[in-house]
């Protein structure tokens, strides 16, 4: 008797479970979004779900390479992804992206024309810019009592063991290359070797090579100067008002994160609707305010508070942009960059 009762219970549990599971799986189409961690105002996702009667499954990654490996290994289908510029090139080269129909994204007209049609995707057939920024020096004004306007500050022996560099080969080598007056995408081994030498000379002054933890270290006053991305810098400044960000006069790198649709997306229609939704001025505004990075959406930028909108560090003017370079995907030459960088770090 007891055995029979247990069987009945099992069957009952099974029935209840399957009813519950089908309950979740309504007729609503699902949109799978894969974005950087903490890189969207999540309320916006809910609004999108309501307005378009769609279910959004939102996952996050922490580096471009994670995104690449996950897509490359297959088995996961996303509808909207947010790679950075050079990763966009790599994905395009490997035919990993779906074409997008700009006609279905009318709000793309709000995007700054100077940020459209970049080298990465000249006709915006595959992507639209999501956020953009520069690299520069984040510094603590209580520990640095001179104006910072040059990359030389990162080689200044007065700040020995007060300097944080990025543990990112492209970015750190870019600074050395800019300082030497070379292109940050150089393929010349001699130029790279010189840049490596410069970084080796700098190493005794460097406190650490960091990535995500760098902004927290700056906020807590652990170091005086740090090579940082502008978005991270804006966050750090909002946490500690002694901090300031400078784009050195020798030039900088302008980077983008874009929205794109990977090959094999199941909900292409939804993906385009989502991209259009994110470019609605009021949505883009809220998103920009939440994230703190520079939005390419001009209509949204117009609505930002004056002190942010006109902040030359957050939204650098034309002069800075003209003096800036994009990263280009290097293909096999990346091995040379890696070797130089390994030499610097093993020095």
């Amino acid at each position: 008797m007891a055995k029979k009762g247990r069987w009945m219970l099992c069957v009952l549990a099974l029935v209840v479970f399957s009813v519950l599971l089908t309950g979740c799986k309504q007729d609503k189409p699902t949109l799978y979004v894969y974005n950087w961690g903490d890189y969207i105002d999540e309320d916006i996702l809910e609004e999108f779900e309501k307005e378009f009667n769609m279910r959004v499954v939102y996952d996050t990654f922490s580096t471009n390479e994670d995104l690449y490996v996950k897509l490359k290994s297959g088995g996961s289908t996303y509808d909207v992804i947010f790679p950075s510029d050079y990763m966009l090139t790599r994905m395009l080269n490997e035919n990993m992206l779906e074409k997008i129909d700009l006609g279905k994204i009318p709000n793309h007209r709000h995007i700054d024309a100077s940020l459209m049609g970049t080298v990465y995707d000249p006709k915006n057939e595959y992507s639209l810019p999501y956020m953009w920024g520069t690299i520069g020096i984040l510094y603590n004004t209580t520990l640095v009592n001179q104006p910072i306007d040059s990359w030389d500050a990162l080689w200044d022996s007065r700040y020995a063991k007060e300097i944080l560099m990025l543990d990112s080969q492209r970015d750190s080598l870019a600074v050395a290359l800019i300082r030497l007056g070379y292109s940050i995408n150089t393929l010349d081994k001699q130029e790279l070797a010189e840049a490596g030498q410069l970084l080796k000379e700098q190493k005794p002054l460097v406190l650490a090579y960091v990535v995500d933890e760098g902004k927290d270290k700056m906020v807590s006053g652990e170091a005086a100067l740090a090579l940082t991305w502008s978005g991270e810098a804006m966050y750090a400044i909002s946490e500690n008002e002694d901090l300031a960000y400078a784009i050195p006069k020798e030039g900088t790198n302008v980077w983008f994160d874009v929205m794109a649709v990977p090959k094999g997306a199941q909900n292409l229609e939804g993906a385009l609707q989502f991209m259009d939704f994110l470019n609605r001025p009021e949505i883009a505004l809220r998103n920009a305010e939440y994230i703190g990075y520079a939005t390419p959406n001009l209509a949204a930028r117009e609505m930002l508070p004056d002190e942010i909108r006109n902040d030359p560090q957050a939204y650098p003017g034309q002069a800075v942009l003209e003096n800036a370079e994009f990263f280009v995907h290097l293909g096999d030459t990346l091995k040379d960059y890696d070797r130089i960088w390994t030499e610097v770090k093993a020095h």
């Binding site: 994670d66 933890e213 990346l334 390994t342 770090k345």
Partner: protein
């Protein structure tokens, strides 16, 4: 055991151990060409260049150093815990194990805030009017991180072997006139060797291949072999070179295990693995 019960394990091992191993070997011994790939030792030749050997040497040195420190701290701790005089055994055992319930990354992050310039230790020192210490982002911090994270792997196997030693053997040695030092050197330590060997292996291997500890606590300045491998797969996308480093590591670990099993002697049945 019946053959049919072994079957699922066999499939599991083939799928998740044998196949990946062959993939690693394949990538290590080939270089991509226009039309696929050709066999080549190029990846290995590259590894034996001075900069990469330097990284290997640093990894070996730090791993060995951490293992020795773990042994020096861990052995007495295991002895105290296994001793009869000690009543709160389970509490101490629990204290060793509880931190392992917490995420490894989280614990390592915690050390960042403890060691940093305005961190817990330096604030304490400042309050005592003592000069501050720069510990974070040094080799010492990396070793500290390894010892902290891997110590339980040293203590537990030694403890489990020590607590199984027949008390009678120890008493007999005493009755026959050995002093406590001789009892330890001639009876307890030789009997505990399998545990020591397990502990040493279980600390040495993860210490040799870690990349998170050296990145967080070393501030990226002390590239270890694990960082090198991670970099090849995630940043450069050079799977061939990454695989060849992994193969070198596998060979090194096999070698060290062979040396270990030589020391292990005939007490194999007591060893944990």
């Amino acid at each position: 055991m019946k053959r049919s019960t072994l079957f699922p394990y066999l499939i599991w091992m083939v799928l998740f151990i044998v196949v990946p191993m062959f993939l690693v070997l394949y990538y290590a011994f080939t270089v991509p060409t226009e039309s696929g790939a050709t066999w080549s030792l190029e990846n290995f030749a590259r590894f034996f260049e001075p900069i990469y050997l330097k990284v290997l040497w640093r990894s070996l040195r730090l791993a060995l150093f951490s293992t020795v420190i773990c042994l020096i701290i861990g052995y007495p701790a295991a002895m105290v815990m296994a001793g009869n005089a000690f009543e709160r055994k389970s509490v101490v055992l629990l204290l060793f194990v509880v931190p392992m319930w917490m995420n490894f990354l989280l614990r390592t992050y915690a050390w960042l805030t403890i060691l940093e310039r305005n961190g817990v230790i330096n604030v304490l020192l400042a309050n005592l009017n003592l000069p501050s210490l720069n510990i974070l982002y040094t080799e010492g911090a990396v070793v500290l991180g390894m010892v902290y994270n891997f110590l339980p792997f040293m203590v537990l196997p030694i403890y489990s072997v020590l607590s199984k030693i027949d008390r009678g053997v120890v008493e007999a040695a005493g009755d026959l006139g050995a002093n406590s030092l001789q009892v330890f050197a001639k009876v307890i330590f030789p009997l505990s060797l399998p545990g020591v060997v397990s502990g040493v292996t279980m600390v040495f291997m993860p210490a040799l291949t870690t990349f998170v500890i050296s990145r967080l606590l070393g501030g990226g300045q002390f590239t270890l072999i694990g960082n090198l491998i991670e970099q090849q797969f995630l940043v450069v996308g050079d799977w061939g070179f990454g695989s060849s480093i992994s193969v070198v590591m596998i060979v090194l670990i096999l070698l060290s295990m062979a040396i270990m099993s030589f020391f292990e002697g005939e007490e194999k049945d007591v060893a944990l693995w």
